[in-house]
Each structure stands twice: as C-alpha cells, then as structure tokens.
Amino acid sequence: MVAQLLSVSALTKSFGAVQALRGVSLDLGKGEIRAICGENGAGKSTLVKLLMGLYAPDSGTVSIDGAAVRIEGPQHAHRLGLALVAQELSLAPHLSVLDNIWLGSEDVPLFHRRGDLRRRAAEALEKLDAGFDLDEPVSRLKVGQRQLVEIARLLTRDSRILILDEPTATLSDVEIARLFSVLRSLRAEGRSVIYITHRLGEVFEICDSVTVLRNGEHISTNPVSAITRDALIGDMLGRSFAEIYPPKRPAEHEGVLTVDGLHIPGTVERLSFTAPRGKITALAGQIGSGATEVARAIAGLVHDATGTLSLGGRPVPLGSAHASRRAGIMFVSEDRAVDGLFHRNVLENLVASDVGRYTQSGLLSFPRMRAGAEKRAELVGVDKSRLAANAFDLSGGNQQKVLFGRVSGASEPGVLVMNEPTRGVDIGARADIYALMRDFCRQGYALLMTSSDLEEVVGMADIVITLYRGQMIGRYEGAAIDIAAILSDITHPVSPSERAA
C-alpha cells in the first residue's frame, strides 16, 4: 500500500435538515492527482470547505500523514500543507505579483528582508514557467496567469496538497495546457492534487484516479484506467428521475423566437437557433459555455451583443432591455438579489414591470395595484397575506414565484427567458415552479431556460441545445433528449468537424 498523505473517513456534515455529506471517505496518495466529480449539490464544495477548515464536520476524521487532525481554519489548513485555488481567485488586483504571492502569509514578519521573499517568489514562478514579471500588477494579467500567481503562492508556502475547484472553467485552451503541465510537474515533486471538475475530458487527461460523489455520498473511486466515460456518467447521475416534473405536453402555437448569428464578444460567436411558442427550449452548458449570457442577451441585458433577434417575424433590437420587454420578452434572473427583486414589498415587486397599468384618472391607484398584485399572487401561489412583506424576507421558492408572478398576466403571451429557474429553491417549491412553467407553455409562451442541473434540463425541456465554450454542439428534441448525450456534449464534445465526418 502506498503511503497515504491525506485520509478522510466517514465525514458527515448537515446544514439544518439538509445532509450535505453522508459519511464520505477517501484516501489520497503522495503524488496523486485525484478528480472529484459530481453534479451540483453532490457535496464537492462542502468537502473542500471541511478540508480548508471553513466548516467543522459533524462527525468523521481527517488525517494527514496518518495522524488525525482537527482543522481549525484556513490558516491552520495552510500550516498542515493544504491549499485551495478557488473558483473565484483571491488576489488583490492593484498589488504586484510579488505582493500577492506573500499576501496573508504567516512567514512575513513586519520587518522582513524583501530580497529573500523576492528570490523565493521568483523561484516559484520559474517552476511554473510563468513568463511574467514579479512587479507586474495583477490587474494586467490574464485569468490563466492569475491562477498561476495563486499556485505560486501555494508553492512558496510549501503546500503538499493542492485543491483546485473548477480551475479550467474560465481558461482558454492554451492556458489549460499550461495548467496541466504545471500539475504534472507538481505531481513529479510528490505533491498531491484534489481536482474538482465538471469536465470529464479533463479527468481522463490529467487525473490518476476519480472519486464520484452524489447526494453527499461517496459512490465510487477508481483509477482512471479502470473506468469508462459512460460508467463515470452513470455513477454521477445514478438516481432515477424524481416525479416532480409535470408531463411534457408541448403545445403547437404560431410564431417562434429566432436568434440568428448572435455574437457576444469573448463569449459566443455566431449562434443561431429558434425557440418555438408553446415549448420549453433549454440551453445546456457549463460555466463558460455562454448559455446564461445568451439568455441575458435575448432579454436585452448584454449591451455589446450583436446579431438578429426576431419574434414571430418582427425584429427585436438587441442590447436594450426596454425594447425586449416591449416586444414581449420577459426575463427571470438567476440572481434574484442582484437583478431580480427590488428591496420593496411583495406587492410592488409583483407589479414592477407594468406599474403604469394601474391608474385611475391619470394617477396610480393603490386599490388597483393591490388587486393586480393579488391576482398575480394567486396565479403563482404566493400567500396573499404576505403582500406587505419585504420581498427579501421570503424563502427562495417564494421569491422565485414572485418573479414568475411579475411576468405573468400579460395581455398576450410572449417569451419567458429564465436563467437557472430553480436555483436556491427547495424541492417542494420546485415542483410548483415546474408546473407554472408548463402553464406558461400552455398559454402559448415560448420558454427559454438555462440550467446547470441536467436532470432539470431533461425533465423539463422539449428541445435541448447543447453549448460548449460558445459553440452549439447539438440539438435534441422530444424523445431524442438523452442525458448521457447532453452530458457528453457539454463536457468534452467531439468537435463539430469530427461529427460531420
């Protein structure tokens, strides 16, 4: 048996009624790169936070070099040799690379010899073959280079176990190749890596072994040589579809939403597709695929988007939310706190998009506003006694219903664009929201949704369009919608040219 550097056994963690981790165990050898895969909510980030001492486990142990440890917090984790490169990098953009490398280090006393720090930082950068200067301000570096700064920071602290959380989500191909060569050289030095990713291709390319988590449980651990891609996908999905999805009854209606040659600088190039009325069209893709940006662009919220957009043959100018709204395109945001809800009561939130409708002899009429809000609250199942409550005091599910309520009751059906329609919504309210979405379909709305939850995509969509880094990979309709095919498209696609061959 190889010497185990890190050993986790029977780790359990609950948040209220939710069990985020249920007795997860895993062993990490010296010089091993271990992939951890799983869908959203599988428990990956909880595991990372436990290892970094951000949460304390309810039960279970973590041992390093065979000795059980209680990780008190991030600084303690660093001293134990654990280090995290998070999805959101933690760099100070206006400081130099050098300052960022030593930022927060306990090795730097108030009076220190800068020359020594400089030498050690330069060594780390050289090891990474970084190709930029120590005095460069971080704000001038590309994302991939910034990631290298973070890794250099970990090297100077002599971290033995690096945890990378979705490190390639925002990187270009060249940057990914660079990162992989860095990881290989770290492995050669005997350091170990925990590599959290959605991208199955990367698992087989860079990792030695792979652990699958699902619903907070450990499902399998295999050397990558001993598992196939399909088996991995099977392990990740595993569960049968819950009964929360209403039956699909796509309705036939005239008129489609047509997107032609949509271009969003840096994200999407020349994307074309249609979304018919009476059906739910889903854009499936990971972070960086451009799916959410496409949805925002159609809602008029991306100012530099170009291309043509039309609804039932009538052109809709891009880049103006007002124009999209007038054409009947309504938007339900994935980020309710930022561009969803107003810091006002539920009543006003429900009528915010068309408050001008509730007038009497030129002035707004509060009784009419109330009546309009009550009608919408009833439509979407928000308790009418809560109309006076601040919208931010509602549960996630009710907040989402308010957003759906706001776009309901239009004089004629239009388009409903939704990013992550059930993010932060508990399971009961999810079923309600799915039923609402079907209801919109029945009325003749065209629904366009994005979701990182593939089960939801398959459960809800009549048409699925898969995206990988700004390009459309496949289109599936009706019975052809297959979760394995979609997962394969959005993780490691065959390039479109290969497909044609």
């Binding site: 919220l301 939310a321 007002h322 915010a352 707004l364």
Partner: protein, 315 residues
C-alpha cells in the same frame, strides 16, 4: 423566524426612541418662552422655506439611488439671478418661467450624464457646481442684480391666510412632490430604480430617463427656491444658496429617507426640515452663540441619523 422576531423588537425600540425624541422637542418648544409667539414662528417658517424647496427636490435624487447633489445650491443662485434679470426685462411670469427652465436644464443635464452613462453622481455634481459657479461669475461679474421697483413682483410678497408666501410655496411643493413620487408611474419608477437599479433594468425600465427625470425635478424645485429668494430680497447674487446642499441632505436623512435610495418621501423630508429648523430656533432663543448652535444641531442630526439606520439595518 427568531431573526425576524429580533428585528421586530429592534424596530419597536427605535420607534419608541423616535417618539421620545419628538416628545422632548415638543416639551422644549413649550417650555421656551417666546417660541410660540407669532414673530419667531413666522421667521422660522420663512427661513426654512428656501432650504425646504431644495430638500424636497433633492429627495428625488436621493430616492433614485444617487445619494445627493452638491450643485443644487449653485442652481438656486443661478435661478435667482435669472429670475431677477428676466423680471426686469419681461415681467414676473417670464422671470419665473426662465428660472424654472434654467433650473430644470442645469440639473437635467447632470441627470442625463449620471443616468445615461452611469457616471458617479457625486463627482458629476461637484463638477457641475464648479461649472455653474464659474459660469455665473463670468456672466454677472460677481455683481448683485437688483430688481427694478414696479416690475410687478411685489404682489407675490407678504402673507396669505396668515402664512408667509415662502412657506405656502414650500407646502405646495411638498404636496406636488409627494403626489409625483407616490401617485405617478414616473414616481414609482424612481423608487424601483433606487431600490434595485439592475432589477429595474431587467424589467425593462428606462433607467436613464428615470434618473434624468429625477434630476429635472430637483432642478425645478431648486428654481422655486431661487425665485422665492429673488422675490424676498429684491435682488440676487452668486452667494445665494451656499450651504443649501448640506442642509438639504441633513433634512432628508433626519426625515428618514434612506441614503442608498428607494425608501423615503417628500413628506419625510418636510418633517426633517421642520425638525432641524426647530432645534436651531430653540438654540437661538436660549441664547447659544452661533458656533454652539452649529455644534449642537450637528450632534443632534448625527444622533437622529444613527437612530434611523439602526432601525433599518439588515444583514
């Protein structure tokens, strides 16, 4: 659940403190000889009116999420000078119209820059302050413009129903402001933009227009202050309106309008104006010297504002 209950307790505590504050003020007023006499009350109501108009106007800016403007005082001066100049040339009605046009335009341009280009409102208003002041200095040569006797403005002086016209004008502005804010689509849109600019954009509101509108209102209301000053003093110069911006924002905050926008009203601002003025007169009548008046008034304003934010804080 428990957090909500806690917030509720806190809110009632703040409400009690607020009540206590007003009661203490009322007692002080009642126990101060001379306060409730006609002359000092009338002086109070008149002096309060000029800043009051600006404060009600600035409430639009604050509610729209743009904190405050530093250029409304200068706008008052520009409007006062415009009013007196045009009054001499073309009569009182033309004077009022010209002053309103100048006020609406000066402020509206800033609103278009702030709302349309998402420029920082503080910086734009400071730049505007310099430009307005410089322009006014250039045009008037820092001289005082005097109204010609018999220009027709004298009929707008004095009292109506026993109240000074300045105060009546303020009351009208408060009512007009309140109606615009709470009973028109435009007013509701100001609240929406102020309580979530990105959400407002996402539901298709034209944020640039709403913000521009709010600044136009602020300019028009400040122009009224300029006209009132010109009427009262029969003249106008660049020194008018200096310090009004600070007094106005103090009144807005004391009234309980949120500095981050989206919550508050014209009536609240009116209450704030009266509150601060009352304290100032009280201090004056009790023989505090000017510097003590400023100090004590400042401390009280600070306390009240702290009380307001304590009642509203959310985590």
């Amino acid at each position: 659940m428990s957090r909500q209950a806690f917030a509720l307790n806190q809110l009632t505590a703040v409400a009690w403190l607020r009540l206590l504050f007003v009661a203490a003020l009322a007692a002080a007023v009642a126990l101060t000889p001379g306060f409730l006499s006609a002359p000092s009350l009338l002086t109070l109501l008149t002096t309060v009116s000029f800043v009051g108009c600006v404060a009600v106007g600035m409430t639009f800016i604050t509610l729209s999420g743009n904190i405050m403007s530093f250029s409304l005082g200068a706008t008052v001066a520009a409007c006062a000078v415009t009013f007196v100049t045009v009054l001499n040339a073309a009569g009182v009605v033309a004077g009022i119209v010209a002053a309103l046009a100048v006020g609406g335009l000066l402020s509206g341009v800033q609103g278009a820059i702030i709302g349309g280009l998402r420029a920082n409102p503080i910086i734009v208003s400071i730049a505007a302050l310099a430009l307005i002041h410089g322009g006014l200095n250039f045009i008037t040569g820092n001289a005082t413009v005097n109204a010609n006797p018999g220009a027709g403005h004298e009929i707008l002086r004095g009292k109506l129903f026993g109240l000074p016209v300045e105060f009546l004008a303020l009351l009208i502005l408060v009512v007009v402001g309140q109606v615009i804010l709470s009973r028109t689509t435009f007013g509701r849109h100001i609240y929406f933009v102020g309580s979530g600019v990105r959400a407002a954009e996402a539901v298709g509101l034209r944020v640039g227009r709403v913000v521009t509108g709010a600044y136009v209102c602020a300019g028009l209301f400040s122009a009224v202050a300029g006209v009132l000053l010109g009427l009262r003093y029969n003249q106008a110069n660049m020194e008018y309106g200096i310090g009004y911006d600070y007094d106005a924002i103090a009144a807005i905050l004391v009234g309980g309008t949120a500095i981050q926008g989206g919550h508050g009203s014209a009536i609240r601002t009116f209450a704030g104006v009266i509150f601060i003025a009352t304290i100032q007169v009280l201090l004056l009548l009790h023989g505090f010297r000017q510097e003590w008046q400023y100090l004590i008034a400042g401390v009280i304003v600070l306390l009240v504002v702290m009380l307001q934010t304590a009642g509203r804080r959310r985590v």
